[in-house]
């Protein structure tokens, strides 16, 4: 505890100068890390998927801190990275900065004391719901927010045209303004006109809906699991499956069939966070009809997002924190966004001109910076995710898939889910 306080004091100077620069809107990274000596040190940064950290962009930091060498390690899949992370947390073997995904947070929070907390004055950098999710019960923020996944609706304008639905993004957005019933109504129209599914799977729709519920699965105060008795959960479950009967393409997300569906018109709409755009483009390069509507039922939702954590027992915690600070500063995050589509979670980044002006050619020059900023600002509910969230949700996705694929009917699947949830913990 004492050493943490000391480190915080030592970092204050660096943080203060960094914040000053940031607020002034200047580009360029933070000032010198006052706590470090001038010896050569190597900092390892471990990420997965694609955070947008390229050699070039990282060199900007080393140019200003010649005594620091940065080694960037990437794991292929987030599951492997997760296994690696928890295997080594609290022991040796983790990098100086470790990327984590928002899905892992409930478990990470159990071990928040093993991570170096983010200095208090940085907290205002990020959107408050981003900060809240990574703050533990003692008030320590343990993750430097990187990106978020505010959702919009991607749609096939060519298929919409064939079904007699509006095709321009603004018109589609106007038509879907409101809650989920508007979405399902449009779905019914589409199915009636073409006989083909409207969305990809029951679980993607469910996911969008459940993330807008304040405390879906657990009681925020006691941590008890309330999922099976929460009427909202049952309501959303039923609504989703009712619509899915005709409107769902019955895919399992991330399966080979689902990828193929992006290209062959098996579904007409998809919930789209920023990182989904490269998926669609990569899997359906010849399709020209995909567009993005600046709308999401009930305003907004968040799917995914990551943080950088600094293990507290690392050899260069202060320097690592300085680097993490720089990596998650608004200007840098905008650069990473331009590189990999990782949408910034920093408040100031959302105001940046570079961000707001970003366009995506594949999606007919959609102004993605604007769209996702609007969606991010429209997120009104931060769902509470306690330590059992992941397990309960996982069981629910399976329950939905069973019905979606026709293996079970809705009631049996629900009952099975209830008994599984009761056995948890």
């Amino acid at each position: 505890m004492k050493s943490r306080a000391l480190r915080r004091v030592a970092l204050a100077a660096a943080v203060a100068s960094t914040s000053a620069l940031v607020l002034a809107g200047c580009s360029g990274g933070g000032g010198a890390a006052a706590g470090s000596s001038d010896e050569e040190i190597t900092l390892t940064v471990a990420t997965f998927n694609d955070f947008g950290y390229t050699e070039e962009l990282l060199n900007a930091y080393t140019a200003e801190h010649p005594n620091v060498k940065i080694v960037h390690n990437r794991a292929a899949k987030s599951n492997d990275a997760r296994a690696n992370y928890f295997q080594k947390l609290g022991k040796t073997g983790l990098a100086d900065i470790e990327g984590i995904e928002v899905d892992w947070l409930p478990e990470v929070m159990k071990y928040s004391d093993l991570l170096a907390p983010v200095p208090d004055d940085l907290k205002s950098r990020w959107l408050d719901w981003k900060v809240k999710a990574a703050t533990d019960s003692s008030g320590n923020l343990v993750g430097y927010g990187t990106d978020i996944g505010p959702e919009a609706i991607c749609y096939r304008s060519d298929l919409f045209e064939a079904a007699g639905l509006p095709t321009e993004p603004a018109d589609v957005a106007a038509a879907l303004q409101g809650d989920w019933s508007k979405y399902f109504e449009m779905g019914d129209k589409y199915v009636a006109a073409t006989g083909k599914p409207f969305f990809d799977s029951a679980s993607s729709v469910y996911q969008g809906m459940i993330n807008q519920v304040e405390a879906a699965y657990e009681n925020p105060d006691s941590g008890e699991i309330t999922a099976t008795t929460n009427p909202e959960v049952k309501k959303i479950y039923t609504e989703t499956l009712d619509a899915s009967k005709t409107q769902s393409a019955h895919f399992e997300q991330w399966s080979t069939d689902w990828y193929a569906g992006m290209a062959n018109g098996a579904f007409a709409t998809l919930s789209c966070p920023g990182w989904m755009l490269t998926q669609i483009e990569g899997n359906a390069p010849e399709v020209s009809g995909w567009k993005i509507a600046d709308v999401f039922p009930n305003g907004g939702g968040n799917w995914g997002g990551s943080y950088l954590t600094v293990p507290a027992n690392g050899p260069h915690v202060a320097e690592a924190q300085a680097l993490a600070d720089w990596l998650t500063s608004p200007e840098q995050q905008v650069k990473f966004f331009q590189q990999a589509g990782t949408f910034p979670s920093q408040v100031d980044a959302l105001k940046s001109a570079d961000l707001l002006g970003a366009k995506n050619a594949y999606f007919s020059d959609a102004p993605i910076g604007e769209i996702f900023t609007n969606r991010a600002n429209a997120v009104s509910v931060t769902p509470f995710k306690g330590q059992y969230y992941f397990q309960v949700n996982d069981a629910m996705s399976k329950a939905l898939l069973r019905v979606d694929q026709g293996t079970q009917d809705a009631q049996t699947s629900w009952d099975q889910w209830v008994s599984q949830v009761d056995a948890i913990g």
């Binding site: 599951n79 928890f86 295997q87 609290g90 062959n264 996705s397 694929q405 026709g406």
Partner: protein, 359 residues
């Protein structure tokens, strides 16, 4: 100085109908050193395995054993003793029984055809064929393929809506099969993946053993008029008995531990929306690496170990009784008996002339 020992030729002379029985050897080299050599060398030869095993094998096993009785927090490295609670928990989970059912189903679907194919293909390869290297290495080629590639190939082949297999089925008028939704269909698909990978492996093991069978047996049998098939069942299979037992046991152990193929069958790697293809190893992985509950995972590991021991013993018993022992007198056909006696006599003659030449 005593130099000679009892001639081993005696057993051969006394049992002309079958392979000679061994008489106890009398150690009479007359030097203490060689006596120690004989006594100690076996232990020396097996010690590298055991030494390494104690270091890198025993520790994990003991560790797993200990934490199976605890509620273990892997990250903090601490836990509380809970007795058999973890075992009770695992056994009370429907997922466990699903996993047991799936494991056995996939095990039977993969091991049985695999072994039958392996024996058949090995018998083909044992023939005097041209381009031996090509054929022999060819059967091992599937084993070489990197797991990620196997996963890609088969998940594409067995895709429910756009997979090649369903497309072909559609072309010949059959309905599409729900490879990822129907339980039994998923077992068939996974068994196919397993068989693809491991058949060649077992084939070459059996082939190596087949090549060690003395050719005179076959020659004698051909002289006696026995056809190839008859020779196969009467000569090849009995002579292969130790290797067959080996293959059955390792396939049993491997088959009950099947992990990679079910995991690669879909993106999530958790055995299906209704645990259609969750195997015990996969469930173990889920408990340990998914839920981070290593105490439960350890309990399941030991339950699996017991299951394997039981099934392994059963299979051992079955294979020992099914395959005729090459030493049993009534198991031999006339042709084999004649060949054996001819061979034994010649061996005896060669040895005595050899010995005579040396002494």
């Amino acid at each position: 100085m005593t130099t000679t020992l009892q001639p081993p030729a005696t057993p051969a002379a006394s049992a002309p109908d079958g392979p000679p029985a061994r008489t106890p050897r009398r150690v009479g080299f007359g030097s203490k050193l060689s006596a120690w050599d004989l006594k100690l060398s076996p232990y020396l030869y097996i010690s590298p395995f055991f030494i390494l095993f104690i270091v890198t094998g025993l520790f994990p096993i003991l560790y797993t054993g200990v934490i199976s009785f605890m509620d273990w927090d892997q990250i903090r490295g601490s836990g509380t003793f809970v007795g058999f609670d973890q075992y009770a928990y695992v056994l009370s989970q429907p997922a466990f029984w699903d996993a047991l059912r799936n494991t056995f189903s996939i095990f039977v679907l993969s091991t049985v055809p695999q072994l039958l194919f392996a024996v058949f293909i090995a018998a083909m390869l044992d023939q005097n064929i041209r381009a031996k290297t090509l054929w022999r290495m060819g059967v091992l080629v599937p084993y070489v393929m990197a797991p990620v590639a196997v996963a890609l190939i088969f998940s594409n082949m067995f895709g429910d809506q756009y997979g090649i297999v369903n497309t072909l089925l559609g072309r010949i008028g059959l309905p599409a099969v729900g490879w990822h939704s129907d339980t039994f269909a998923s077992h068939i698909a996974i068994a196919t993946m397993v068989n693809f990978r491991w058949t060649g492996y077992n084939t070459l093991i059996l082939l190596a053993a087949m090549q060690a069978v003395p050719r005179e047996y076959y020659e004698a049998a051909t002289v006696d008029g026995a056809g190839k098939v008859r020779q196969f069942f009467s000569i090849t299979l009995p002579s292969l008995k130790p290797t067959l037992i080996f293959v059955v046991i390792t396939s049993t152990i491997g088959g009950l531990q099947i992990f990679d193929e079910p995991r690669m069958f879909d993106q999530g790697g958790t055995g299906g929306s209704n645990n259609q293809w969750l195997t015990i190893s996969l469930y173990l992985y889920k408990l340990g690496w998914g839920e981070w509950n290593f105490g439960r995972a350890a309990a399941l590991a030991w339950i699996l170990f017991l299951i394997i021991l039981v099934i392994g013993a059963v299979n051992l018993f079955i294979s020992r009784s099914l395959v005729r022992d090459e030493g049993a007198r009534d198991g031999l056909s006339r042709a084999q008996r004649r060949a054996a006696s001819r061979a034994a006599k010649q061996r005896l003659a060669a040895e005595s002339t050899g010995k005579g030449a040396r002494s």
